[in-house]
């Protein structure tokens, strides 16, 4: 008997790896050449190129669809969780001026910052951006929203003192044409006069006169902002538009601060008027911006408001993420929020624990059903499968509402229990608007997602395995536990991943039956997206949820192995 050799007794029996090993060995000898002398790999790639292109073309519609409707929105939302450009875009001068301010000290910023704030607020309120910024900063400090709205209403009048004085000095300063005559380049002046507003052509883009921003830098900047706004937002003719009050205050600043020699040397258009204005400006009545803002609202002299603005002036912030984990940005760096303001940690923890509970109850309830399904004759199995799938064909909302009817204190279940005498009528069970309600309803709703993968895996386990185990001396229980159960684990794994990931992001059911104690983090995300409109915080919470799921998936892969997950 021992001299008989076949494939099964050879010392080195062929295994599936052999083919790979042989392929590796062949590769080491140098590239295999095709009949025409080219490397075989190259020839193969060439031969397969058309096929690959065709495959790509078939996949492309879905790929593009997924990219546009799924990946891109997710990326956009993730970006929103750190994006914070609104502060530096709305208050560019202020945030620049604040850079030198010592936020850790206990003095409020100096006059220069308030002056910058006046410029920024003036343009912001013209563009109606100040209230948006107010709401944004209100997430970080309550009261900022009304402060900004109030300031927006009053800031327009603040600089009129300069406008009045310049206009009293010389009527020249009253009209837009006079301003553009020396602010704008000759080329632009020619263009704008040739431009016909009714022609439908776009108004020519405003261009500064060469050298004017050396002599009058603040005026040039303000005037450019004004011109661009008038051109694009108001769609009025920049050439004839009378300047805003903020331009007069910038002009005053330039004239009083500029080098007298530079103005004296100026010889462009309106040189005479500028020179006389410069002389007169030294005697103008002026204003104290800091005091003026204090008059509008005393909060402008509150150091906390300024600290908030300074903390949130960078273009990107981790503030949303800190908020999402119950922390806040302070001037000394991130710190935990006071105990009574922490909610997200509890919500995340509750979401995890309840999702795990729901997954476990789905396994417990689903396993026997899947087992019966897999072992019944086909005809009966199909009927049972329809019963399992029935919930899929009913609206989620209807099912959840049905649970509301079932579970409430005067509902079907409590009534039945009272009727059976198991529960006293004044001691009815609280089954809804709490965690119990969420767990019961979500277990029911997610059960098919557990049963189907388990069923399809169990179908592949042949009954002979159990017979073999029994013939080898195993009791029914041992045969099940040591032979059947290990082979069904891939189904449990697939079902668990499916149910857990669905549960962790579930929204509708907890919203309807969860009350306050049974809601998930997703309900909070929905609140921020649709009610409080704090999209950044919603995005940060979503990003954390996504990261948690990916982390769990990774851990699952390490512990169980994702190859062990089978859907059939």
């Amino acid at each position: 008997m021992s001299d008989i050799k076949d494939a099964t007794t050879a010392d080195t029996a062929p295994t599936p790896d052999d083919a790979l090993r042989m392929a590796d060995a062949a590769e080491k000898k140098g590239p295999v050449l095709a009949a025409d002398g080219r490397p075989l790999k190259q020839s193969l790639n060439r031969a397969l190129r058309l096929q690959k292109l065709r495959a790509l073309a078939l996949v492309a519609p879905l790929l593009i669809f997924v990219l546009v409707t799924f990946i891109a929105p997710i990326a956009d939302m993730l970006f929103r969780s750190v994006e914070n450009e609104i502060v530096s875009e709305t208050l560019p001068k202020t945030t620049a001026a604040l850079e030198d301010w010592d936020a850790e000290g206990d003095t409020i910023p100096d006059e220069a910052v308030f002056e910058a704030l006046y410029d920024d607020m003036f343009f912001a309120q013209e563009a109606k951006l100040h209230s948006r910024l107010g709401s944004r900063l209100n997430y970080e400090q309550t009261g900022v929203s009304s402060l900004f709205r109030k300031t927006g209403r009053s800031v327009e009048d603040m600089g009129e003192v300069f406008q009045d004085q310049f206009e009293d000095l010389d009527d020249f300063w009253k009209t837009g044409e006079n301003w553009t005559s020396f602010m704008a380049s000759d080329e632009w002046l020619a263009d704008i006069q040739a431009w016909d507003a009714d022609s439908g052509d776009r108004q020519p883009r405003f261009e500064l006169r060469d050298g004017i921003d050396d002599i009058l830098p603040a005026t040039a900047e303000s005037y450019t902002r004004f011109a661009n706004y008038v051109r694009t937002e108001d769609e009025d003719n920049v050439y004839t538009e009378d300047p805003w009050a903020v331009i007069y205050s910038s002009f005053y600043d330039d004239l009083t601060r500029a080098d007298a020699a530079a103005i004296a040397a100026y010889s462009g258009p309106a040189a005479e008027q500028i020179k006389s204005a410069a002389t007169a400006a030294t005697g103008f009545e002026t204003i104290d911006y800091s005091e003026a803002f204090l008059d509008i609202d005393e909060d402008w002299h509150s150091i906390d408001v300024w600290r908030t603005i300074k903390i949130y002036s960078p273009k990107f912030t981790n503030g949303y993420f800190l908020n999402a984990i119950d922390m806040q940005k302070s001037i000394d760096g991130p710190e935990l929020r006071p105990e009574n303001e922490r909610i997200y940690g509890i919500l995340f923890w509750r979401t995890m624990v309840m999702s795990i509970t729901i997954t476990l109850s789905c396994i417990l309830l689903g396993y026997p059903v899947a087992w019966i399904l897999a072992n019944l004759p086909a005809r009966n199995a199909n009927l049972l499968l329809i019963l399992v799938l029935l919930p899929f064909w009913t609206s989620l909302l209807v099912r959840t509402s049905a649970w509301k009817v079932m579970l409430q204190q005067q509902g079907v279940i409590n009534d039945t229990l009272v009727w059976l005498g198991l529960v006293a009528t004044d001691d009815r069970l609280v089954l809804i608007n709490n965690q119990t309600g969420t767990i019961i309803a979500m277990t029911h709703i997610l059960l098919p997602f557990m049963i189907l993968p388990m069923y399809s895996v169990m179908q592949t386990i042949q009954p002979t395995y159990l017979r073999a185990a029994k013939s080898l001396g195993a009791t029914n229980w041992t045969a099940f536990w040591r032979v059947y159960f290990p082979q069904s684990i891939p189904g449990i794994g697939a079902g668990s991943i499916l149910v857990f990931i669905l549960a962790i992001g579930y929204y509708i059911t907890p919203e309807i039956v969860g009350g306050t104690s049974g809601t998930f983090i997703s309900n909070r995300i929905a609140y921020h997206i649709s009610s409080s409109l704090n999209w950044g915080l919603g995005a940060a919470l979503g990003a954390i949820l996504l990261a948690a799921v990916l982390l769990l998936y990774y851990a699952y892969d390490k512990i169980v192995g994702i190859d062990n997950v089978k859907l059939g």
Partner: protein, 366 residues
């Protein structure tokens, strides 16, 4: 012959019946007894009840009526895991999530054997099938033949006295099947175990078994050693099912001196050995093995009845020649002749005369 009441019997089926639906009997009145150490094969076409019998013996099916005894004790009410019967399945049924060693260890673990005992027994069992080097592999990493060896080792590792095999070689190629047939028989004899082997492959049954039970229609048609089964089939089903066979139909004219004269439907008269015909006038099927037919006049015995035949086809098969003839109106009469130097190769169209010894020609039931 089995009569169901043998005192030496190790395995006994006593008037066993089995029905799945309460309308049809799959197994009808089965009586069988096997002594210890016998290699018995249940052979039959699919649906003949042989696998059902095996499953009843293993305990996976219950007998509707009758008694199954093992070692003199009725096992009807003993669950499968307490019967201590080893079993090899057609699709091996090796547990895919366990290594070879773990598969073999399983029956020993459920019998609560110590680690060292287990290792010793596993090594011995793997040695019996020459698979010691594969202890750490998973079943999926083994070829079909290797898996079947492991399945065999697993069925033997807990040293059962009775091993059941349900078409164990059905999924293997011919060469491997022959090797394993040889190994299984040798192992069974060396270990002295009793084997009940189910197959639908008659060659397998003939080469491996001490006795073969031919199943058809829920009954044992004949239970006999392989040579007897081949050479002395008791009825026309067995004659047809085992080996190649020529049948001629006719009516018994007379029976005398242990010879029956049969008048074939085409008019010729031949002599045959009466097996289950008893009187003149009965219809019968006469059965002759192709290799017992002679056409060389010089080799024919004197007084042998001869028939005219026309050669239709000559097939060269290497070791033998297979010739198809038209005899007594039937054109599927086959003869086989050894490829010897002096052998004549018959040409299609040739008219010849064929003959045989009366004892090789058996008159069976119609």
């Amino acid at each position: 012959m089995a009569d169901g009441t043998n005192n030496d019997a190790f395995v006994e089926f006593d008037r066993v019946q089995k029905s799945y639906d309460g309308e049809n009997l799959v197994v009808k009145d089965l009586n069988l007894s096997m002594p210890k150490g016998e290699f018995l094969t249940m052979l039959g076409p699919s649906g003949s009840g042989k696998t059902t019998c095996l499953m009843m013996l293993a305990g996976f099916e219950t007998a509707t009526h009758g008694d199954i005894r093992l070692g003199g004790k009725s096992i009807n009410n003993i669950p499968p895991h307490k019967r201590g019967i080893g079993m090899v399945f057609q699709n091996y049924a090796l547990f895919p999530h366990m290594t070879v060693a773990e598969n073999l260890s399983f029956p020993l673990e459920v019998r609560k054997m110590g680690k060292s005992t287990r290792e010793e027994k596993i090594n011995r069992a793997l040695g019996m099938v020459q698979m010691n080097d594969f202890a750490g592999r998973r079943p999926a990493q083994l070829s079909g033949g290797q898996q079947q060896r492991i399945a065999l080792a697993r069925a033997l590792v807990f040293e059962p006295e009775l091993v059941l095999m349900d078409e164990p070689l059905g999924a293997l190629d011919k060469q491997l099947r022959e090797t394993l047939q040889f190994e299984i028989t040798n192992l069974a004899h060396d270990l002295g175990i009793t084997v009940v082997y189910v197959t639908h492959d008659q060659t397998e049954a003939l080469t491996m078994s001490d006795r073969v039970a031919v199943f058809e229609d829920g009954r044992i048609q004949q239970l006999a050693p392989p040579d007897e089964l081949y050479e002395a089939p008791q009825n026309s089903f067995v004659a047809q099912f085992i080996g190649e066979n020529n049948t001629l139909e006719g009516v018994v004219q007379e029976i005398k001196n242990d010879t029956a004269l049969v008048k074939l439907d085409s008019g010729e008269v031949i002599a045959a050995k009466p097996v289950n015909v008893t009187k003149a006038g009965e219809r019968t099927r006469v059965s002759i093995r192709p290799e017992r037919v002679e056409y060389n006049k010089e080799r024919m015995q004197e007084g042998a009845y001869t028939l005219k035949a026309e050669v239709l086809e000559f097939i060269y098969m290497g070791d033998i020649f297979r010739t198809r003839l038209k005899v007594a109106g039937k054109d599927d009469f086959i003869i086989k002749t050894r490829n010897a130097p002096d052998q004549v190769r018959l040409k299609p169209g040739t008219q010849i005369e064929i003959g045989w010894l009366p004892e090789d020609c058996r008159a069976l039931d119609a």
